[in-house]
Structures are given as C-alpha cells and as structure tokens.
Amino acid sequence: MTHQDAPTASNRPEGAALLSEQRRDAMGGEPPFVPEPTGDSRLVASIKDAVITAAIVAGITLFFLAVRSDIDAGGLVLTLRPGLWMTWVAIALVVRFFLSYFFYRSAAPISGWLKTVVMPTKRGVPIGKTVGIILLAMALTLPWLLSTFLPGQNRYLLDLAILILTYVMLGWGLNIVVGLAGLLDLGYVAFYAVGAYSFALLATNFGLGFWVCLPMAGLFAALWGIMLGFPVLRLRGDYLAIVTLAFGEIIRIVLLNWYDFTGGPNGILGIPKPTLFGIEFSRGEGGFADYFGLEYSTVHRFVFLYYIILALALLTNFVTLRLRKLPVGRAWEALREDEIACRSLGINTVNVKLTAFATGAMFGGFAGAFFATRQGFISPESFTFIESAIILAIVVLGGLGSQLGVVIASVVMIGGIELLRNLTVLQQVFGDNFDPTQYRMLIFGLAMVAIMVWKPRGLISSRTPTVIYKERKKIGADAVSQGEGH
C-alpha cells in the first residue's frame, strides 16, 4: 500500500479542524495553546462592574426613591427626591467597586486571608484550646473586670453577660441533639419552657427553693424530651423538623390556655430569687450584704446570678465533652453519620435518640429554671418560636457540634443585637429619624447571610476525634455528615 498516507476525501480535515490539527502536530500532540484573553486591568474592570451595578440600582429604585407620591386634597402630589436617589446609587457604586476590587477581581481575596486565620494550627497547642482558656479566664473574672474598667455600665453589661450565657447554655444543650446526634429540633424552646414553668409552679405552689427545684426542672424537661422523642423516632429530615416545631408550639399554647394551672397569658408572678445557702440578696437584716458586712448593692445579686449561670453552662460543657468520649456520645455521632450502619453494629438507635433528646432537654430545663428565677416572672410570651430559631441559629452559625463555636456565635448574636440597639452613630449618617433598633434585625440577617456564604458549615466546622492512636488530626467539615440537621 504505497498511497496509504495520501489523504482521501473521508479522512482529510478541513477548515478549522485542519488548522487545529496542524497546530497540534507542530507541538507534538499537545493541545493547541490559546493565550488567555487579556482583559481589562483590575481597576478598570472593577469600575465597569461598579458603573453597571449603579445603573441597575438607579433603574430599579427610580420609582421608589426618586419619586414620592402623597395623597393630598387635590389628588396625588408628586415630590421629587433626587438627592436621596443619588445617595443610594452612589452607595451602590462605591460598595460594588470595593467588592469587585478587593474580593471578586482580586488575585488574593480578603476572604481567603480570613479563611487562613481560622485554620487550626497543626502543631503545638491548638488554637481552639487557647481561645477557650482565654474566654474561660475572662468569664470567671468578668464581674471584677466590669466593676474595675466599666463601673458606670456595670449592671447593664452584667445583665447582658447573663443573657448571653443563658443562650450559650441553651446552645450547648441543643448542640447535643442537633450537632452531635444530628436530629434537627426546631422546638427546643419547649424544654426551656418546661424547665421554667416546672420551677415557677413548684416554687409558688409548694414553696420550694431554687436549688431544690433546679434538678427537678431538669428531670421534668428530660421526661418531656423522651415524650417528644417517642413519636419522632421514625422521622427523618424535614418531617422531624416539622414535628418538633409543632411540639414547641403545642407546649406554648397549652401554657397559654391552661389558665387554672399556669395562669395563662398572665403568667406566673413572684418566683423566688436564688439564695446563697439560705442567705437572700435583700436589703437590711440577714441579707447578703449585711451578713458579710458589705455595703448593700443591687449588683451583688447580678454577680451571684452570673456565677450561677456560668456554673450551669460550664457543667453543660463538661458533661457534653465527657459524653462525647463515652460510648453514648460516640453512638450519637455515629447516628448522625449513618443510622443503618449503627443498627448493623447492634446499637439500639431508639435508645440513642432518646438519650440525645433527654440530655439536650435536661440542659434546656436547667436554663429554663434559671431564666424563671432571674426574671421573677414568666409568661408564654417568652417561649415563642423565635427563641427556638435563635438557639438553632447559634448552633448552626457556631458550627454543628462545636462547643467553642456556640460561645462565639452567642456573643455575636445576642451581644450583637444589643450592640445594634445602641448604634446612635448611624443617626449621623442617615439623619435623626433613623432608628437603629428598627433595623437591627435586618443588619443581623445580613450578617448571618454573610457568615453562611463565607463559612457554610459554621464558624468552627472541623471535628475533633474523641480518641487517638498516635496523632490528633482535625477532621474537615466536608468529611463530617450533617445528619438530619441539614
């Protein structure tokens, strides 16, 4: 076959195919090299982005911001507000420019830098432990720190710290159910309510004190946790979430309507304050200040409450960390990873789920009892769905299963909401009519979206193994299953 290499009509490439083939031949079989199209520089591209965004914003908001119609005696009156309109277009222009320049079109985006900061260090003391110890030291000395450095706002800040710690404790309690066992619970506030009402009713009807009622409130809540657990044992995912949500609402509505027992919407008044070995924090003879020869101050009670909730929260944390290393804790995490595999290994998943619900509910009950004694008054209004949502948001933002993440998320969320209350600085930007409290939920929502975009699995998403053979390695979020909590 001498003319084998001669092209025939069927195998001869044409046009672009020929060109590409020749180029490939020239490069020894490598695919043809196409230089990357040289676009605009970073600055020009960012400006282009910004102008386009500004134009879109201008178009969309033209009828909402630039023109305002008011009903007047003679009909509609149009007022033009070009200033306001231009302000917002300018804001869009500037924000988009900065986003483009520093994030989207940057070779080394700031978001990447943020990511490297929170990466756990491989060697030496893990960063989580260091932060944890620093936070613990701060928490233990907080009343002293506040009275030394911020004596003016001492009481307010201490009260805020108590509130944050309550949510830390609730977050840690829910973390057992959602983070470890992977069971999405949207009705966690029910156990908070059970704890609060247990204490309030026991205290007002039988005259029992806080320290006697505290374990009972926890037990009652755990019992209700098991009662909720039974019907939802076979449910997964969205269905589980819906039923737990309904359970939370049922508890609240029963509390609202069972007037004879719970006082209905009037709530329960006169819940006793906790005492220190029988010493009350009251003015006058036999009170705390009198007994220890101190000058009476209302702050004493807040300091006492602060240390109670700190101790309760630390107990929750200690028990959770301990349980994680016990067979039951490992079974929770295994349940989150794969329920069928659990059953194939002889694990009674019914018991595992019920212990998770009961343990989580118990800590919710403790927190509820504390809430009741701190407020001195409870009503069903305190136990609405938004509470469940906030607690769940704390757990999800912090990172499912992460103890430190819950603390950070609580401080950011609860402290952040309070902080926004006081942002009078914004009034100088948006005028005196601007009320930051009205926008705090909006800002808060935006912050949550931002965190979820930046860290979709929560602030601290890596998992620490409960047992090691040679070396403790962090397990990345992509390996860890989210159970029913997704």
Binding site: R330, E337, I340, A341, S344, G346, P465, V467, Y469, K470
Partner: protein, 323 residues
Amino acid sequence: MKQHTIDAITDPVLTVEHLTMQFGGLVAVDDLSFNIGRGDITALIGPNGAGKTTVFNCITGFYKPTEGRIAMRRGRNVSDETIGALTETGRQFDRQGDAVYLLERMADFRITEQAGVARTFQNIRLFGGMTVLENLLVAQHNKLMKASNYSIGGLLGLPGYRRAADRAKEIAIEWLRHADLLDRADDPASDLSYGAQRRLEIVRAMCTEPSLLCLDEPAAGLNPRESNELNQLLRYIRDSHDVSILLIEHDMGVVMEISDHIIVLEYGKKIADGTAAEVRDDPAVIAAYLGVDDDEVDQVEEDLGLRKPDQPYDKSDLPGENT
C-alpha cells in the same frame, strides 16, 4: 474442604428453612432453604436480581420475612428438636441452654448484639466523619455501654470503665493491624481508599464479636491486589476467630478461591448447593449464568471452550493459598 460441607449438614451455624419474602406481588425469595456450616466460608451467588441481598436482609433482620424460619445456633451441636421446641414457645431466643436464636423474630440490632450476626453493606456504610479507630470503637458500643454503667460510671471516670475503654482500644488496634490500616488509624474513614474502606467495614463488623459474618459483595470494585488482601483477611477471620462467613459475591475468582460451600440462587430459588467444584459443573448454574436452556448447556460449554472439570482452577498464581 470436604469436611466443611459435612459440617453444613451435621452442625450448621445457621439454618434457613422455607424462607419466603414478598414485596407486594413480587416474590423476591421463594421457599428457600439452606444451611451454613460452622467455620465455613459460604458464598451466595446468582445473577442480578436473584434475591441474594434480600436473603441477607432477612438474615440480618433488616427485612421481616413473609414466611420461614432462620435459626442461628451459637452453641455447638444444637438439635433440630431444640429449635422446634423454641419455635413453639414463641420466644425469640434461648440464651441459657443451647444459645439458639430465631432471627426472623428479632429486631435488626438485637441480631447483631445477641445472636452474633454481623454484616457489611453493598455500598459501604462507614462513619465517614469519624476516624478509623472511632469506627471500631462504635462497633464495641454495647460492651462499653455496660462497662460505663450506662454512662454514669463513665461520666464519673470510674476505673472499671477506663480499663474497658483501654481494652476496647487494644482490640480495635489489633484488628487494624490485621487489616493493614494501623497507620491510618487517626484519619477520617472517608479519606481511605475504596479497598481500605471495604477492609475497615469488615473489621468493624468483626469488632461486634460475631459468630457469623455476612458480607455483601466484599470484593466489588477491588483491584486484584486488593482482592487478594481481602481473601487473606477473610481466611484469617475464619481460622483465628472461629467465625463462619456468608458472602454475596459476583467476582467468581474470589468465590471459587475462598468458598468452602456455594449456594446459587436464581429468581429467588436455590438452583445449586455444594462445593466450588460441584457448583461450577452444575448445568443449571451454567445455564443461569449464560442464559441458555438446560439441554443446550453442553453445547454452549464446548463452544466457549470452558476448562475441564478435573483441572478446575489455577490457584498457584493467587497468593494467600499458603496461609
């Protein structure tokens, strides 16, 4: 190999009788009876959709069979009369005397916990976000739960629990050594290669201390080297731990190589039951696999030039034979 098949008759570890499983109108398993000999590696083979995995799920309690009895004898030489008597009582098991368990009456997790039947899955089910070592500790859950006094003793850090936990870790490390996974002990299970995940799932099942290990396609997706490692592991398990093995497998190399006893299913019915050599030459089996009528089998066999029955299988090139 011969004495193993005799075991299947004289002292079976598992007896399946008249097992029927219906899904609506579909009969997935139809009046199936077979024995699994103590200390045998028994293979359950058959074309796709023959009902192998359904049989597995019935034995391990993931399905409740429509009809039939599945008797697990952990004790040796349990007579059929004992099983008959237990069936009449309506109880699930008799742990005191002969250690007999009627699996069709028990919940799935109790079958593993009490009757000592452990299983693996066709699509590997590991706890991916937990380390290799943790996976093996989860498998020892029930033992550790008792040792920790149902978490109370463990919470208080009692020495009894600490000893049990250390012992459990030693057992896990020992198994990892045999599965050649010790240097990966602290890695998340999902980071392992496919073959390593298969081995890990098998040793995890072994950590439940079973008498019967059920493996659903353990060699699926393994390369020849990994298949050999798997064969060695299975032989080690059978010989050193007094565990009977039931496996579903499509890889005929693995099946013929390690099985003492093969059961062939087609359309939910048993079509052959015997040693590897017997099954390989069974016309019904060949017909099932090649898809021809029984009377055409000889012709087809000749056409394809299948090897002669007296020179069955060249085992010398597969390592693990000399163990």
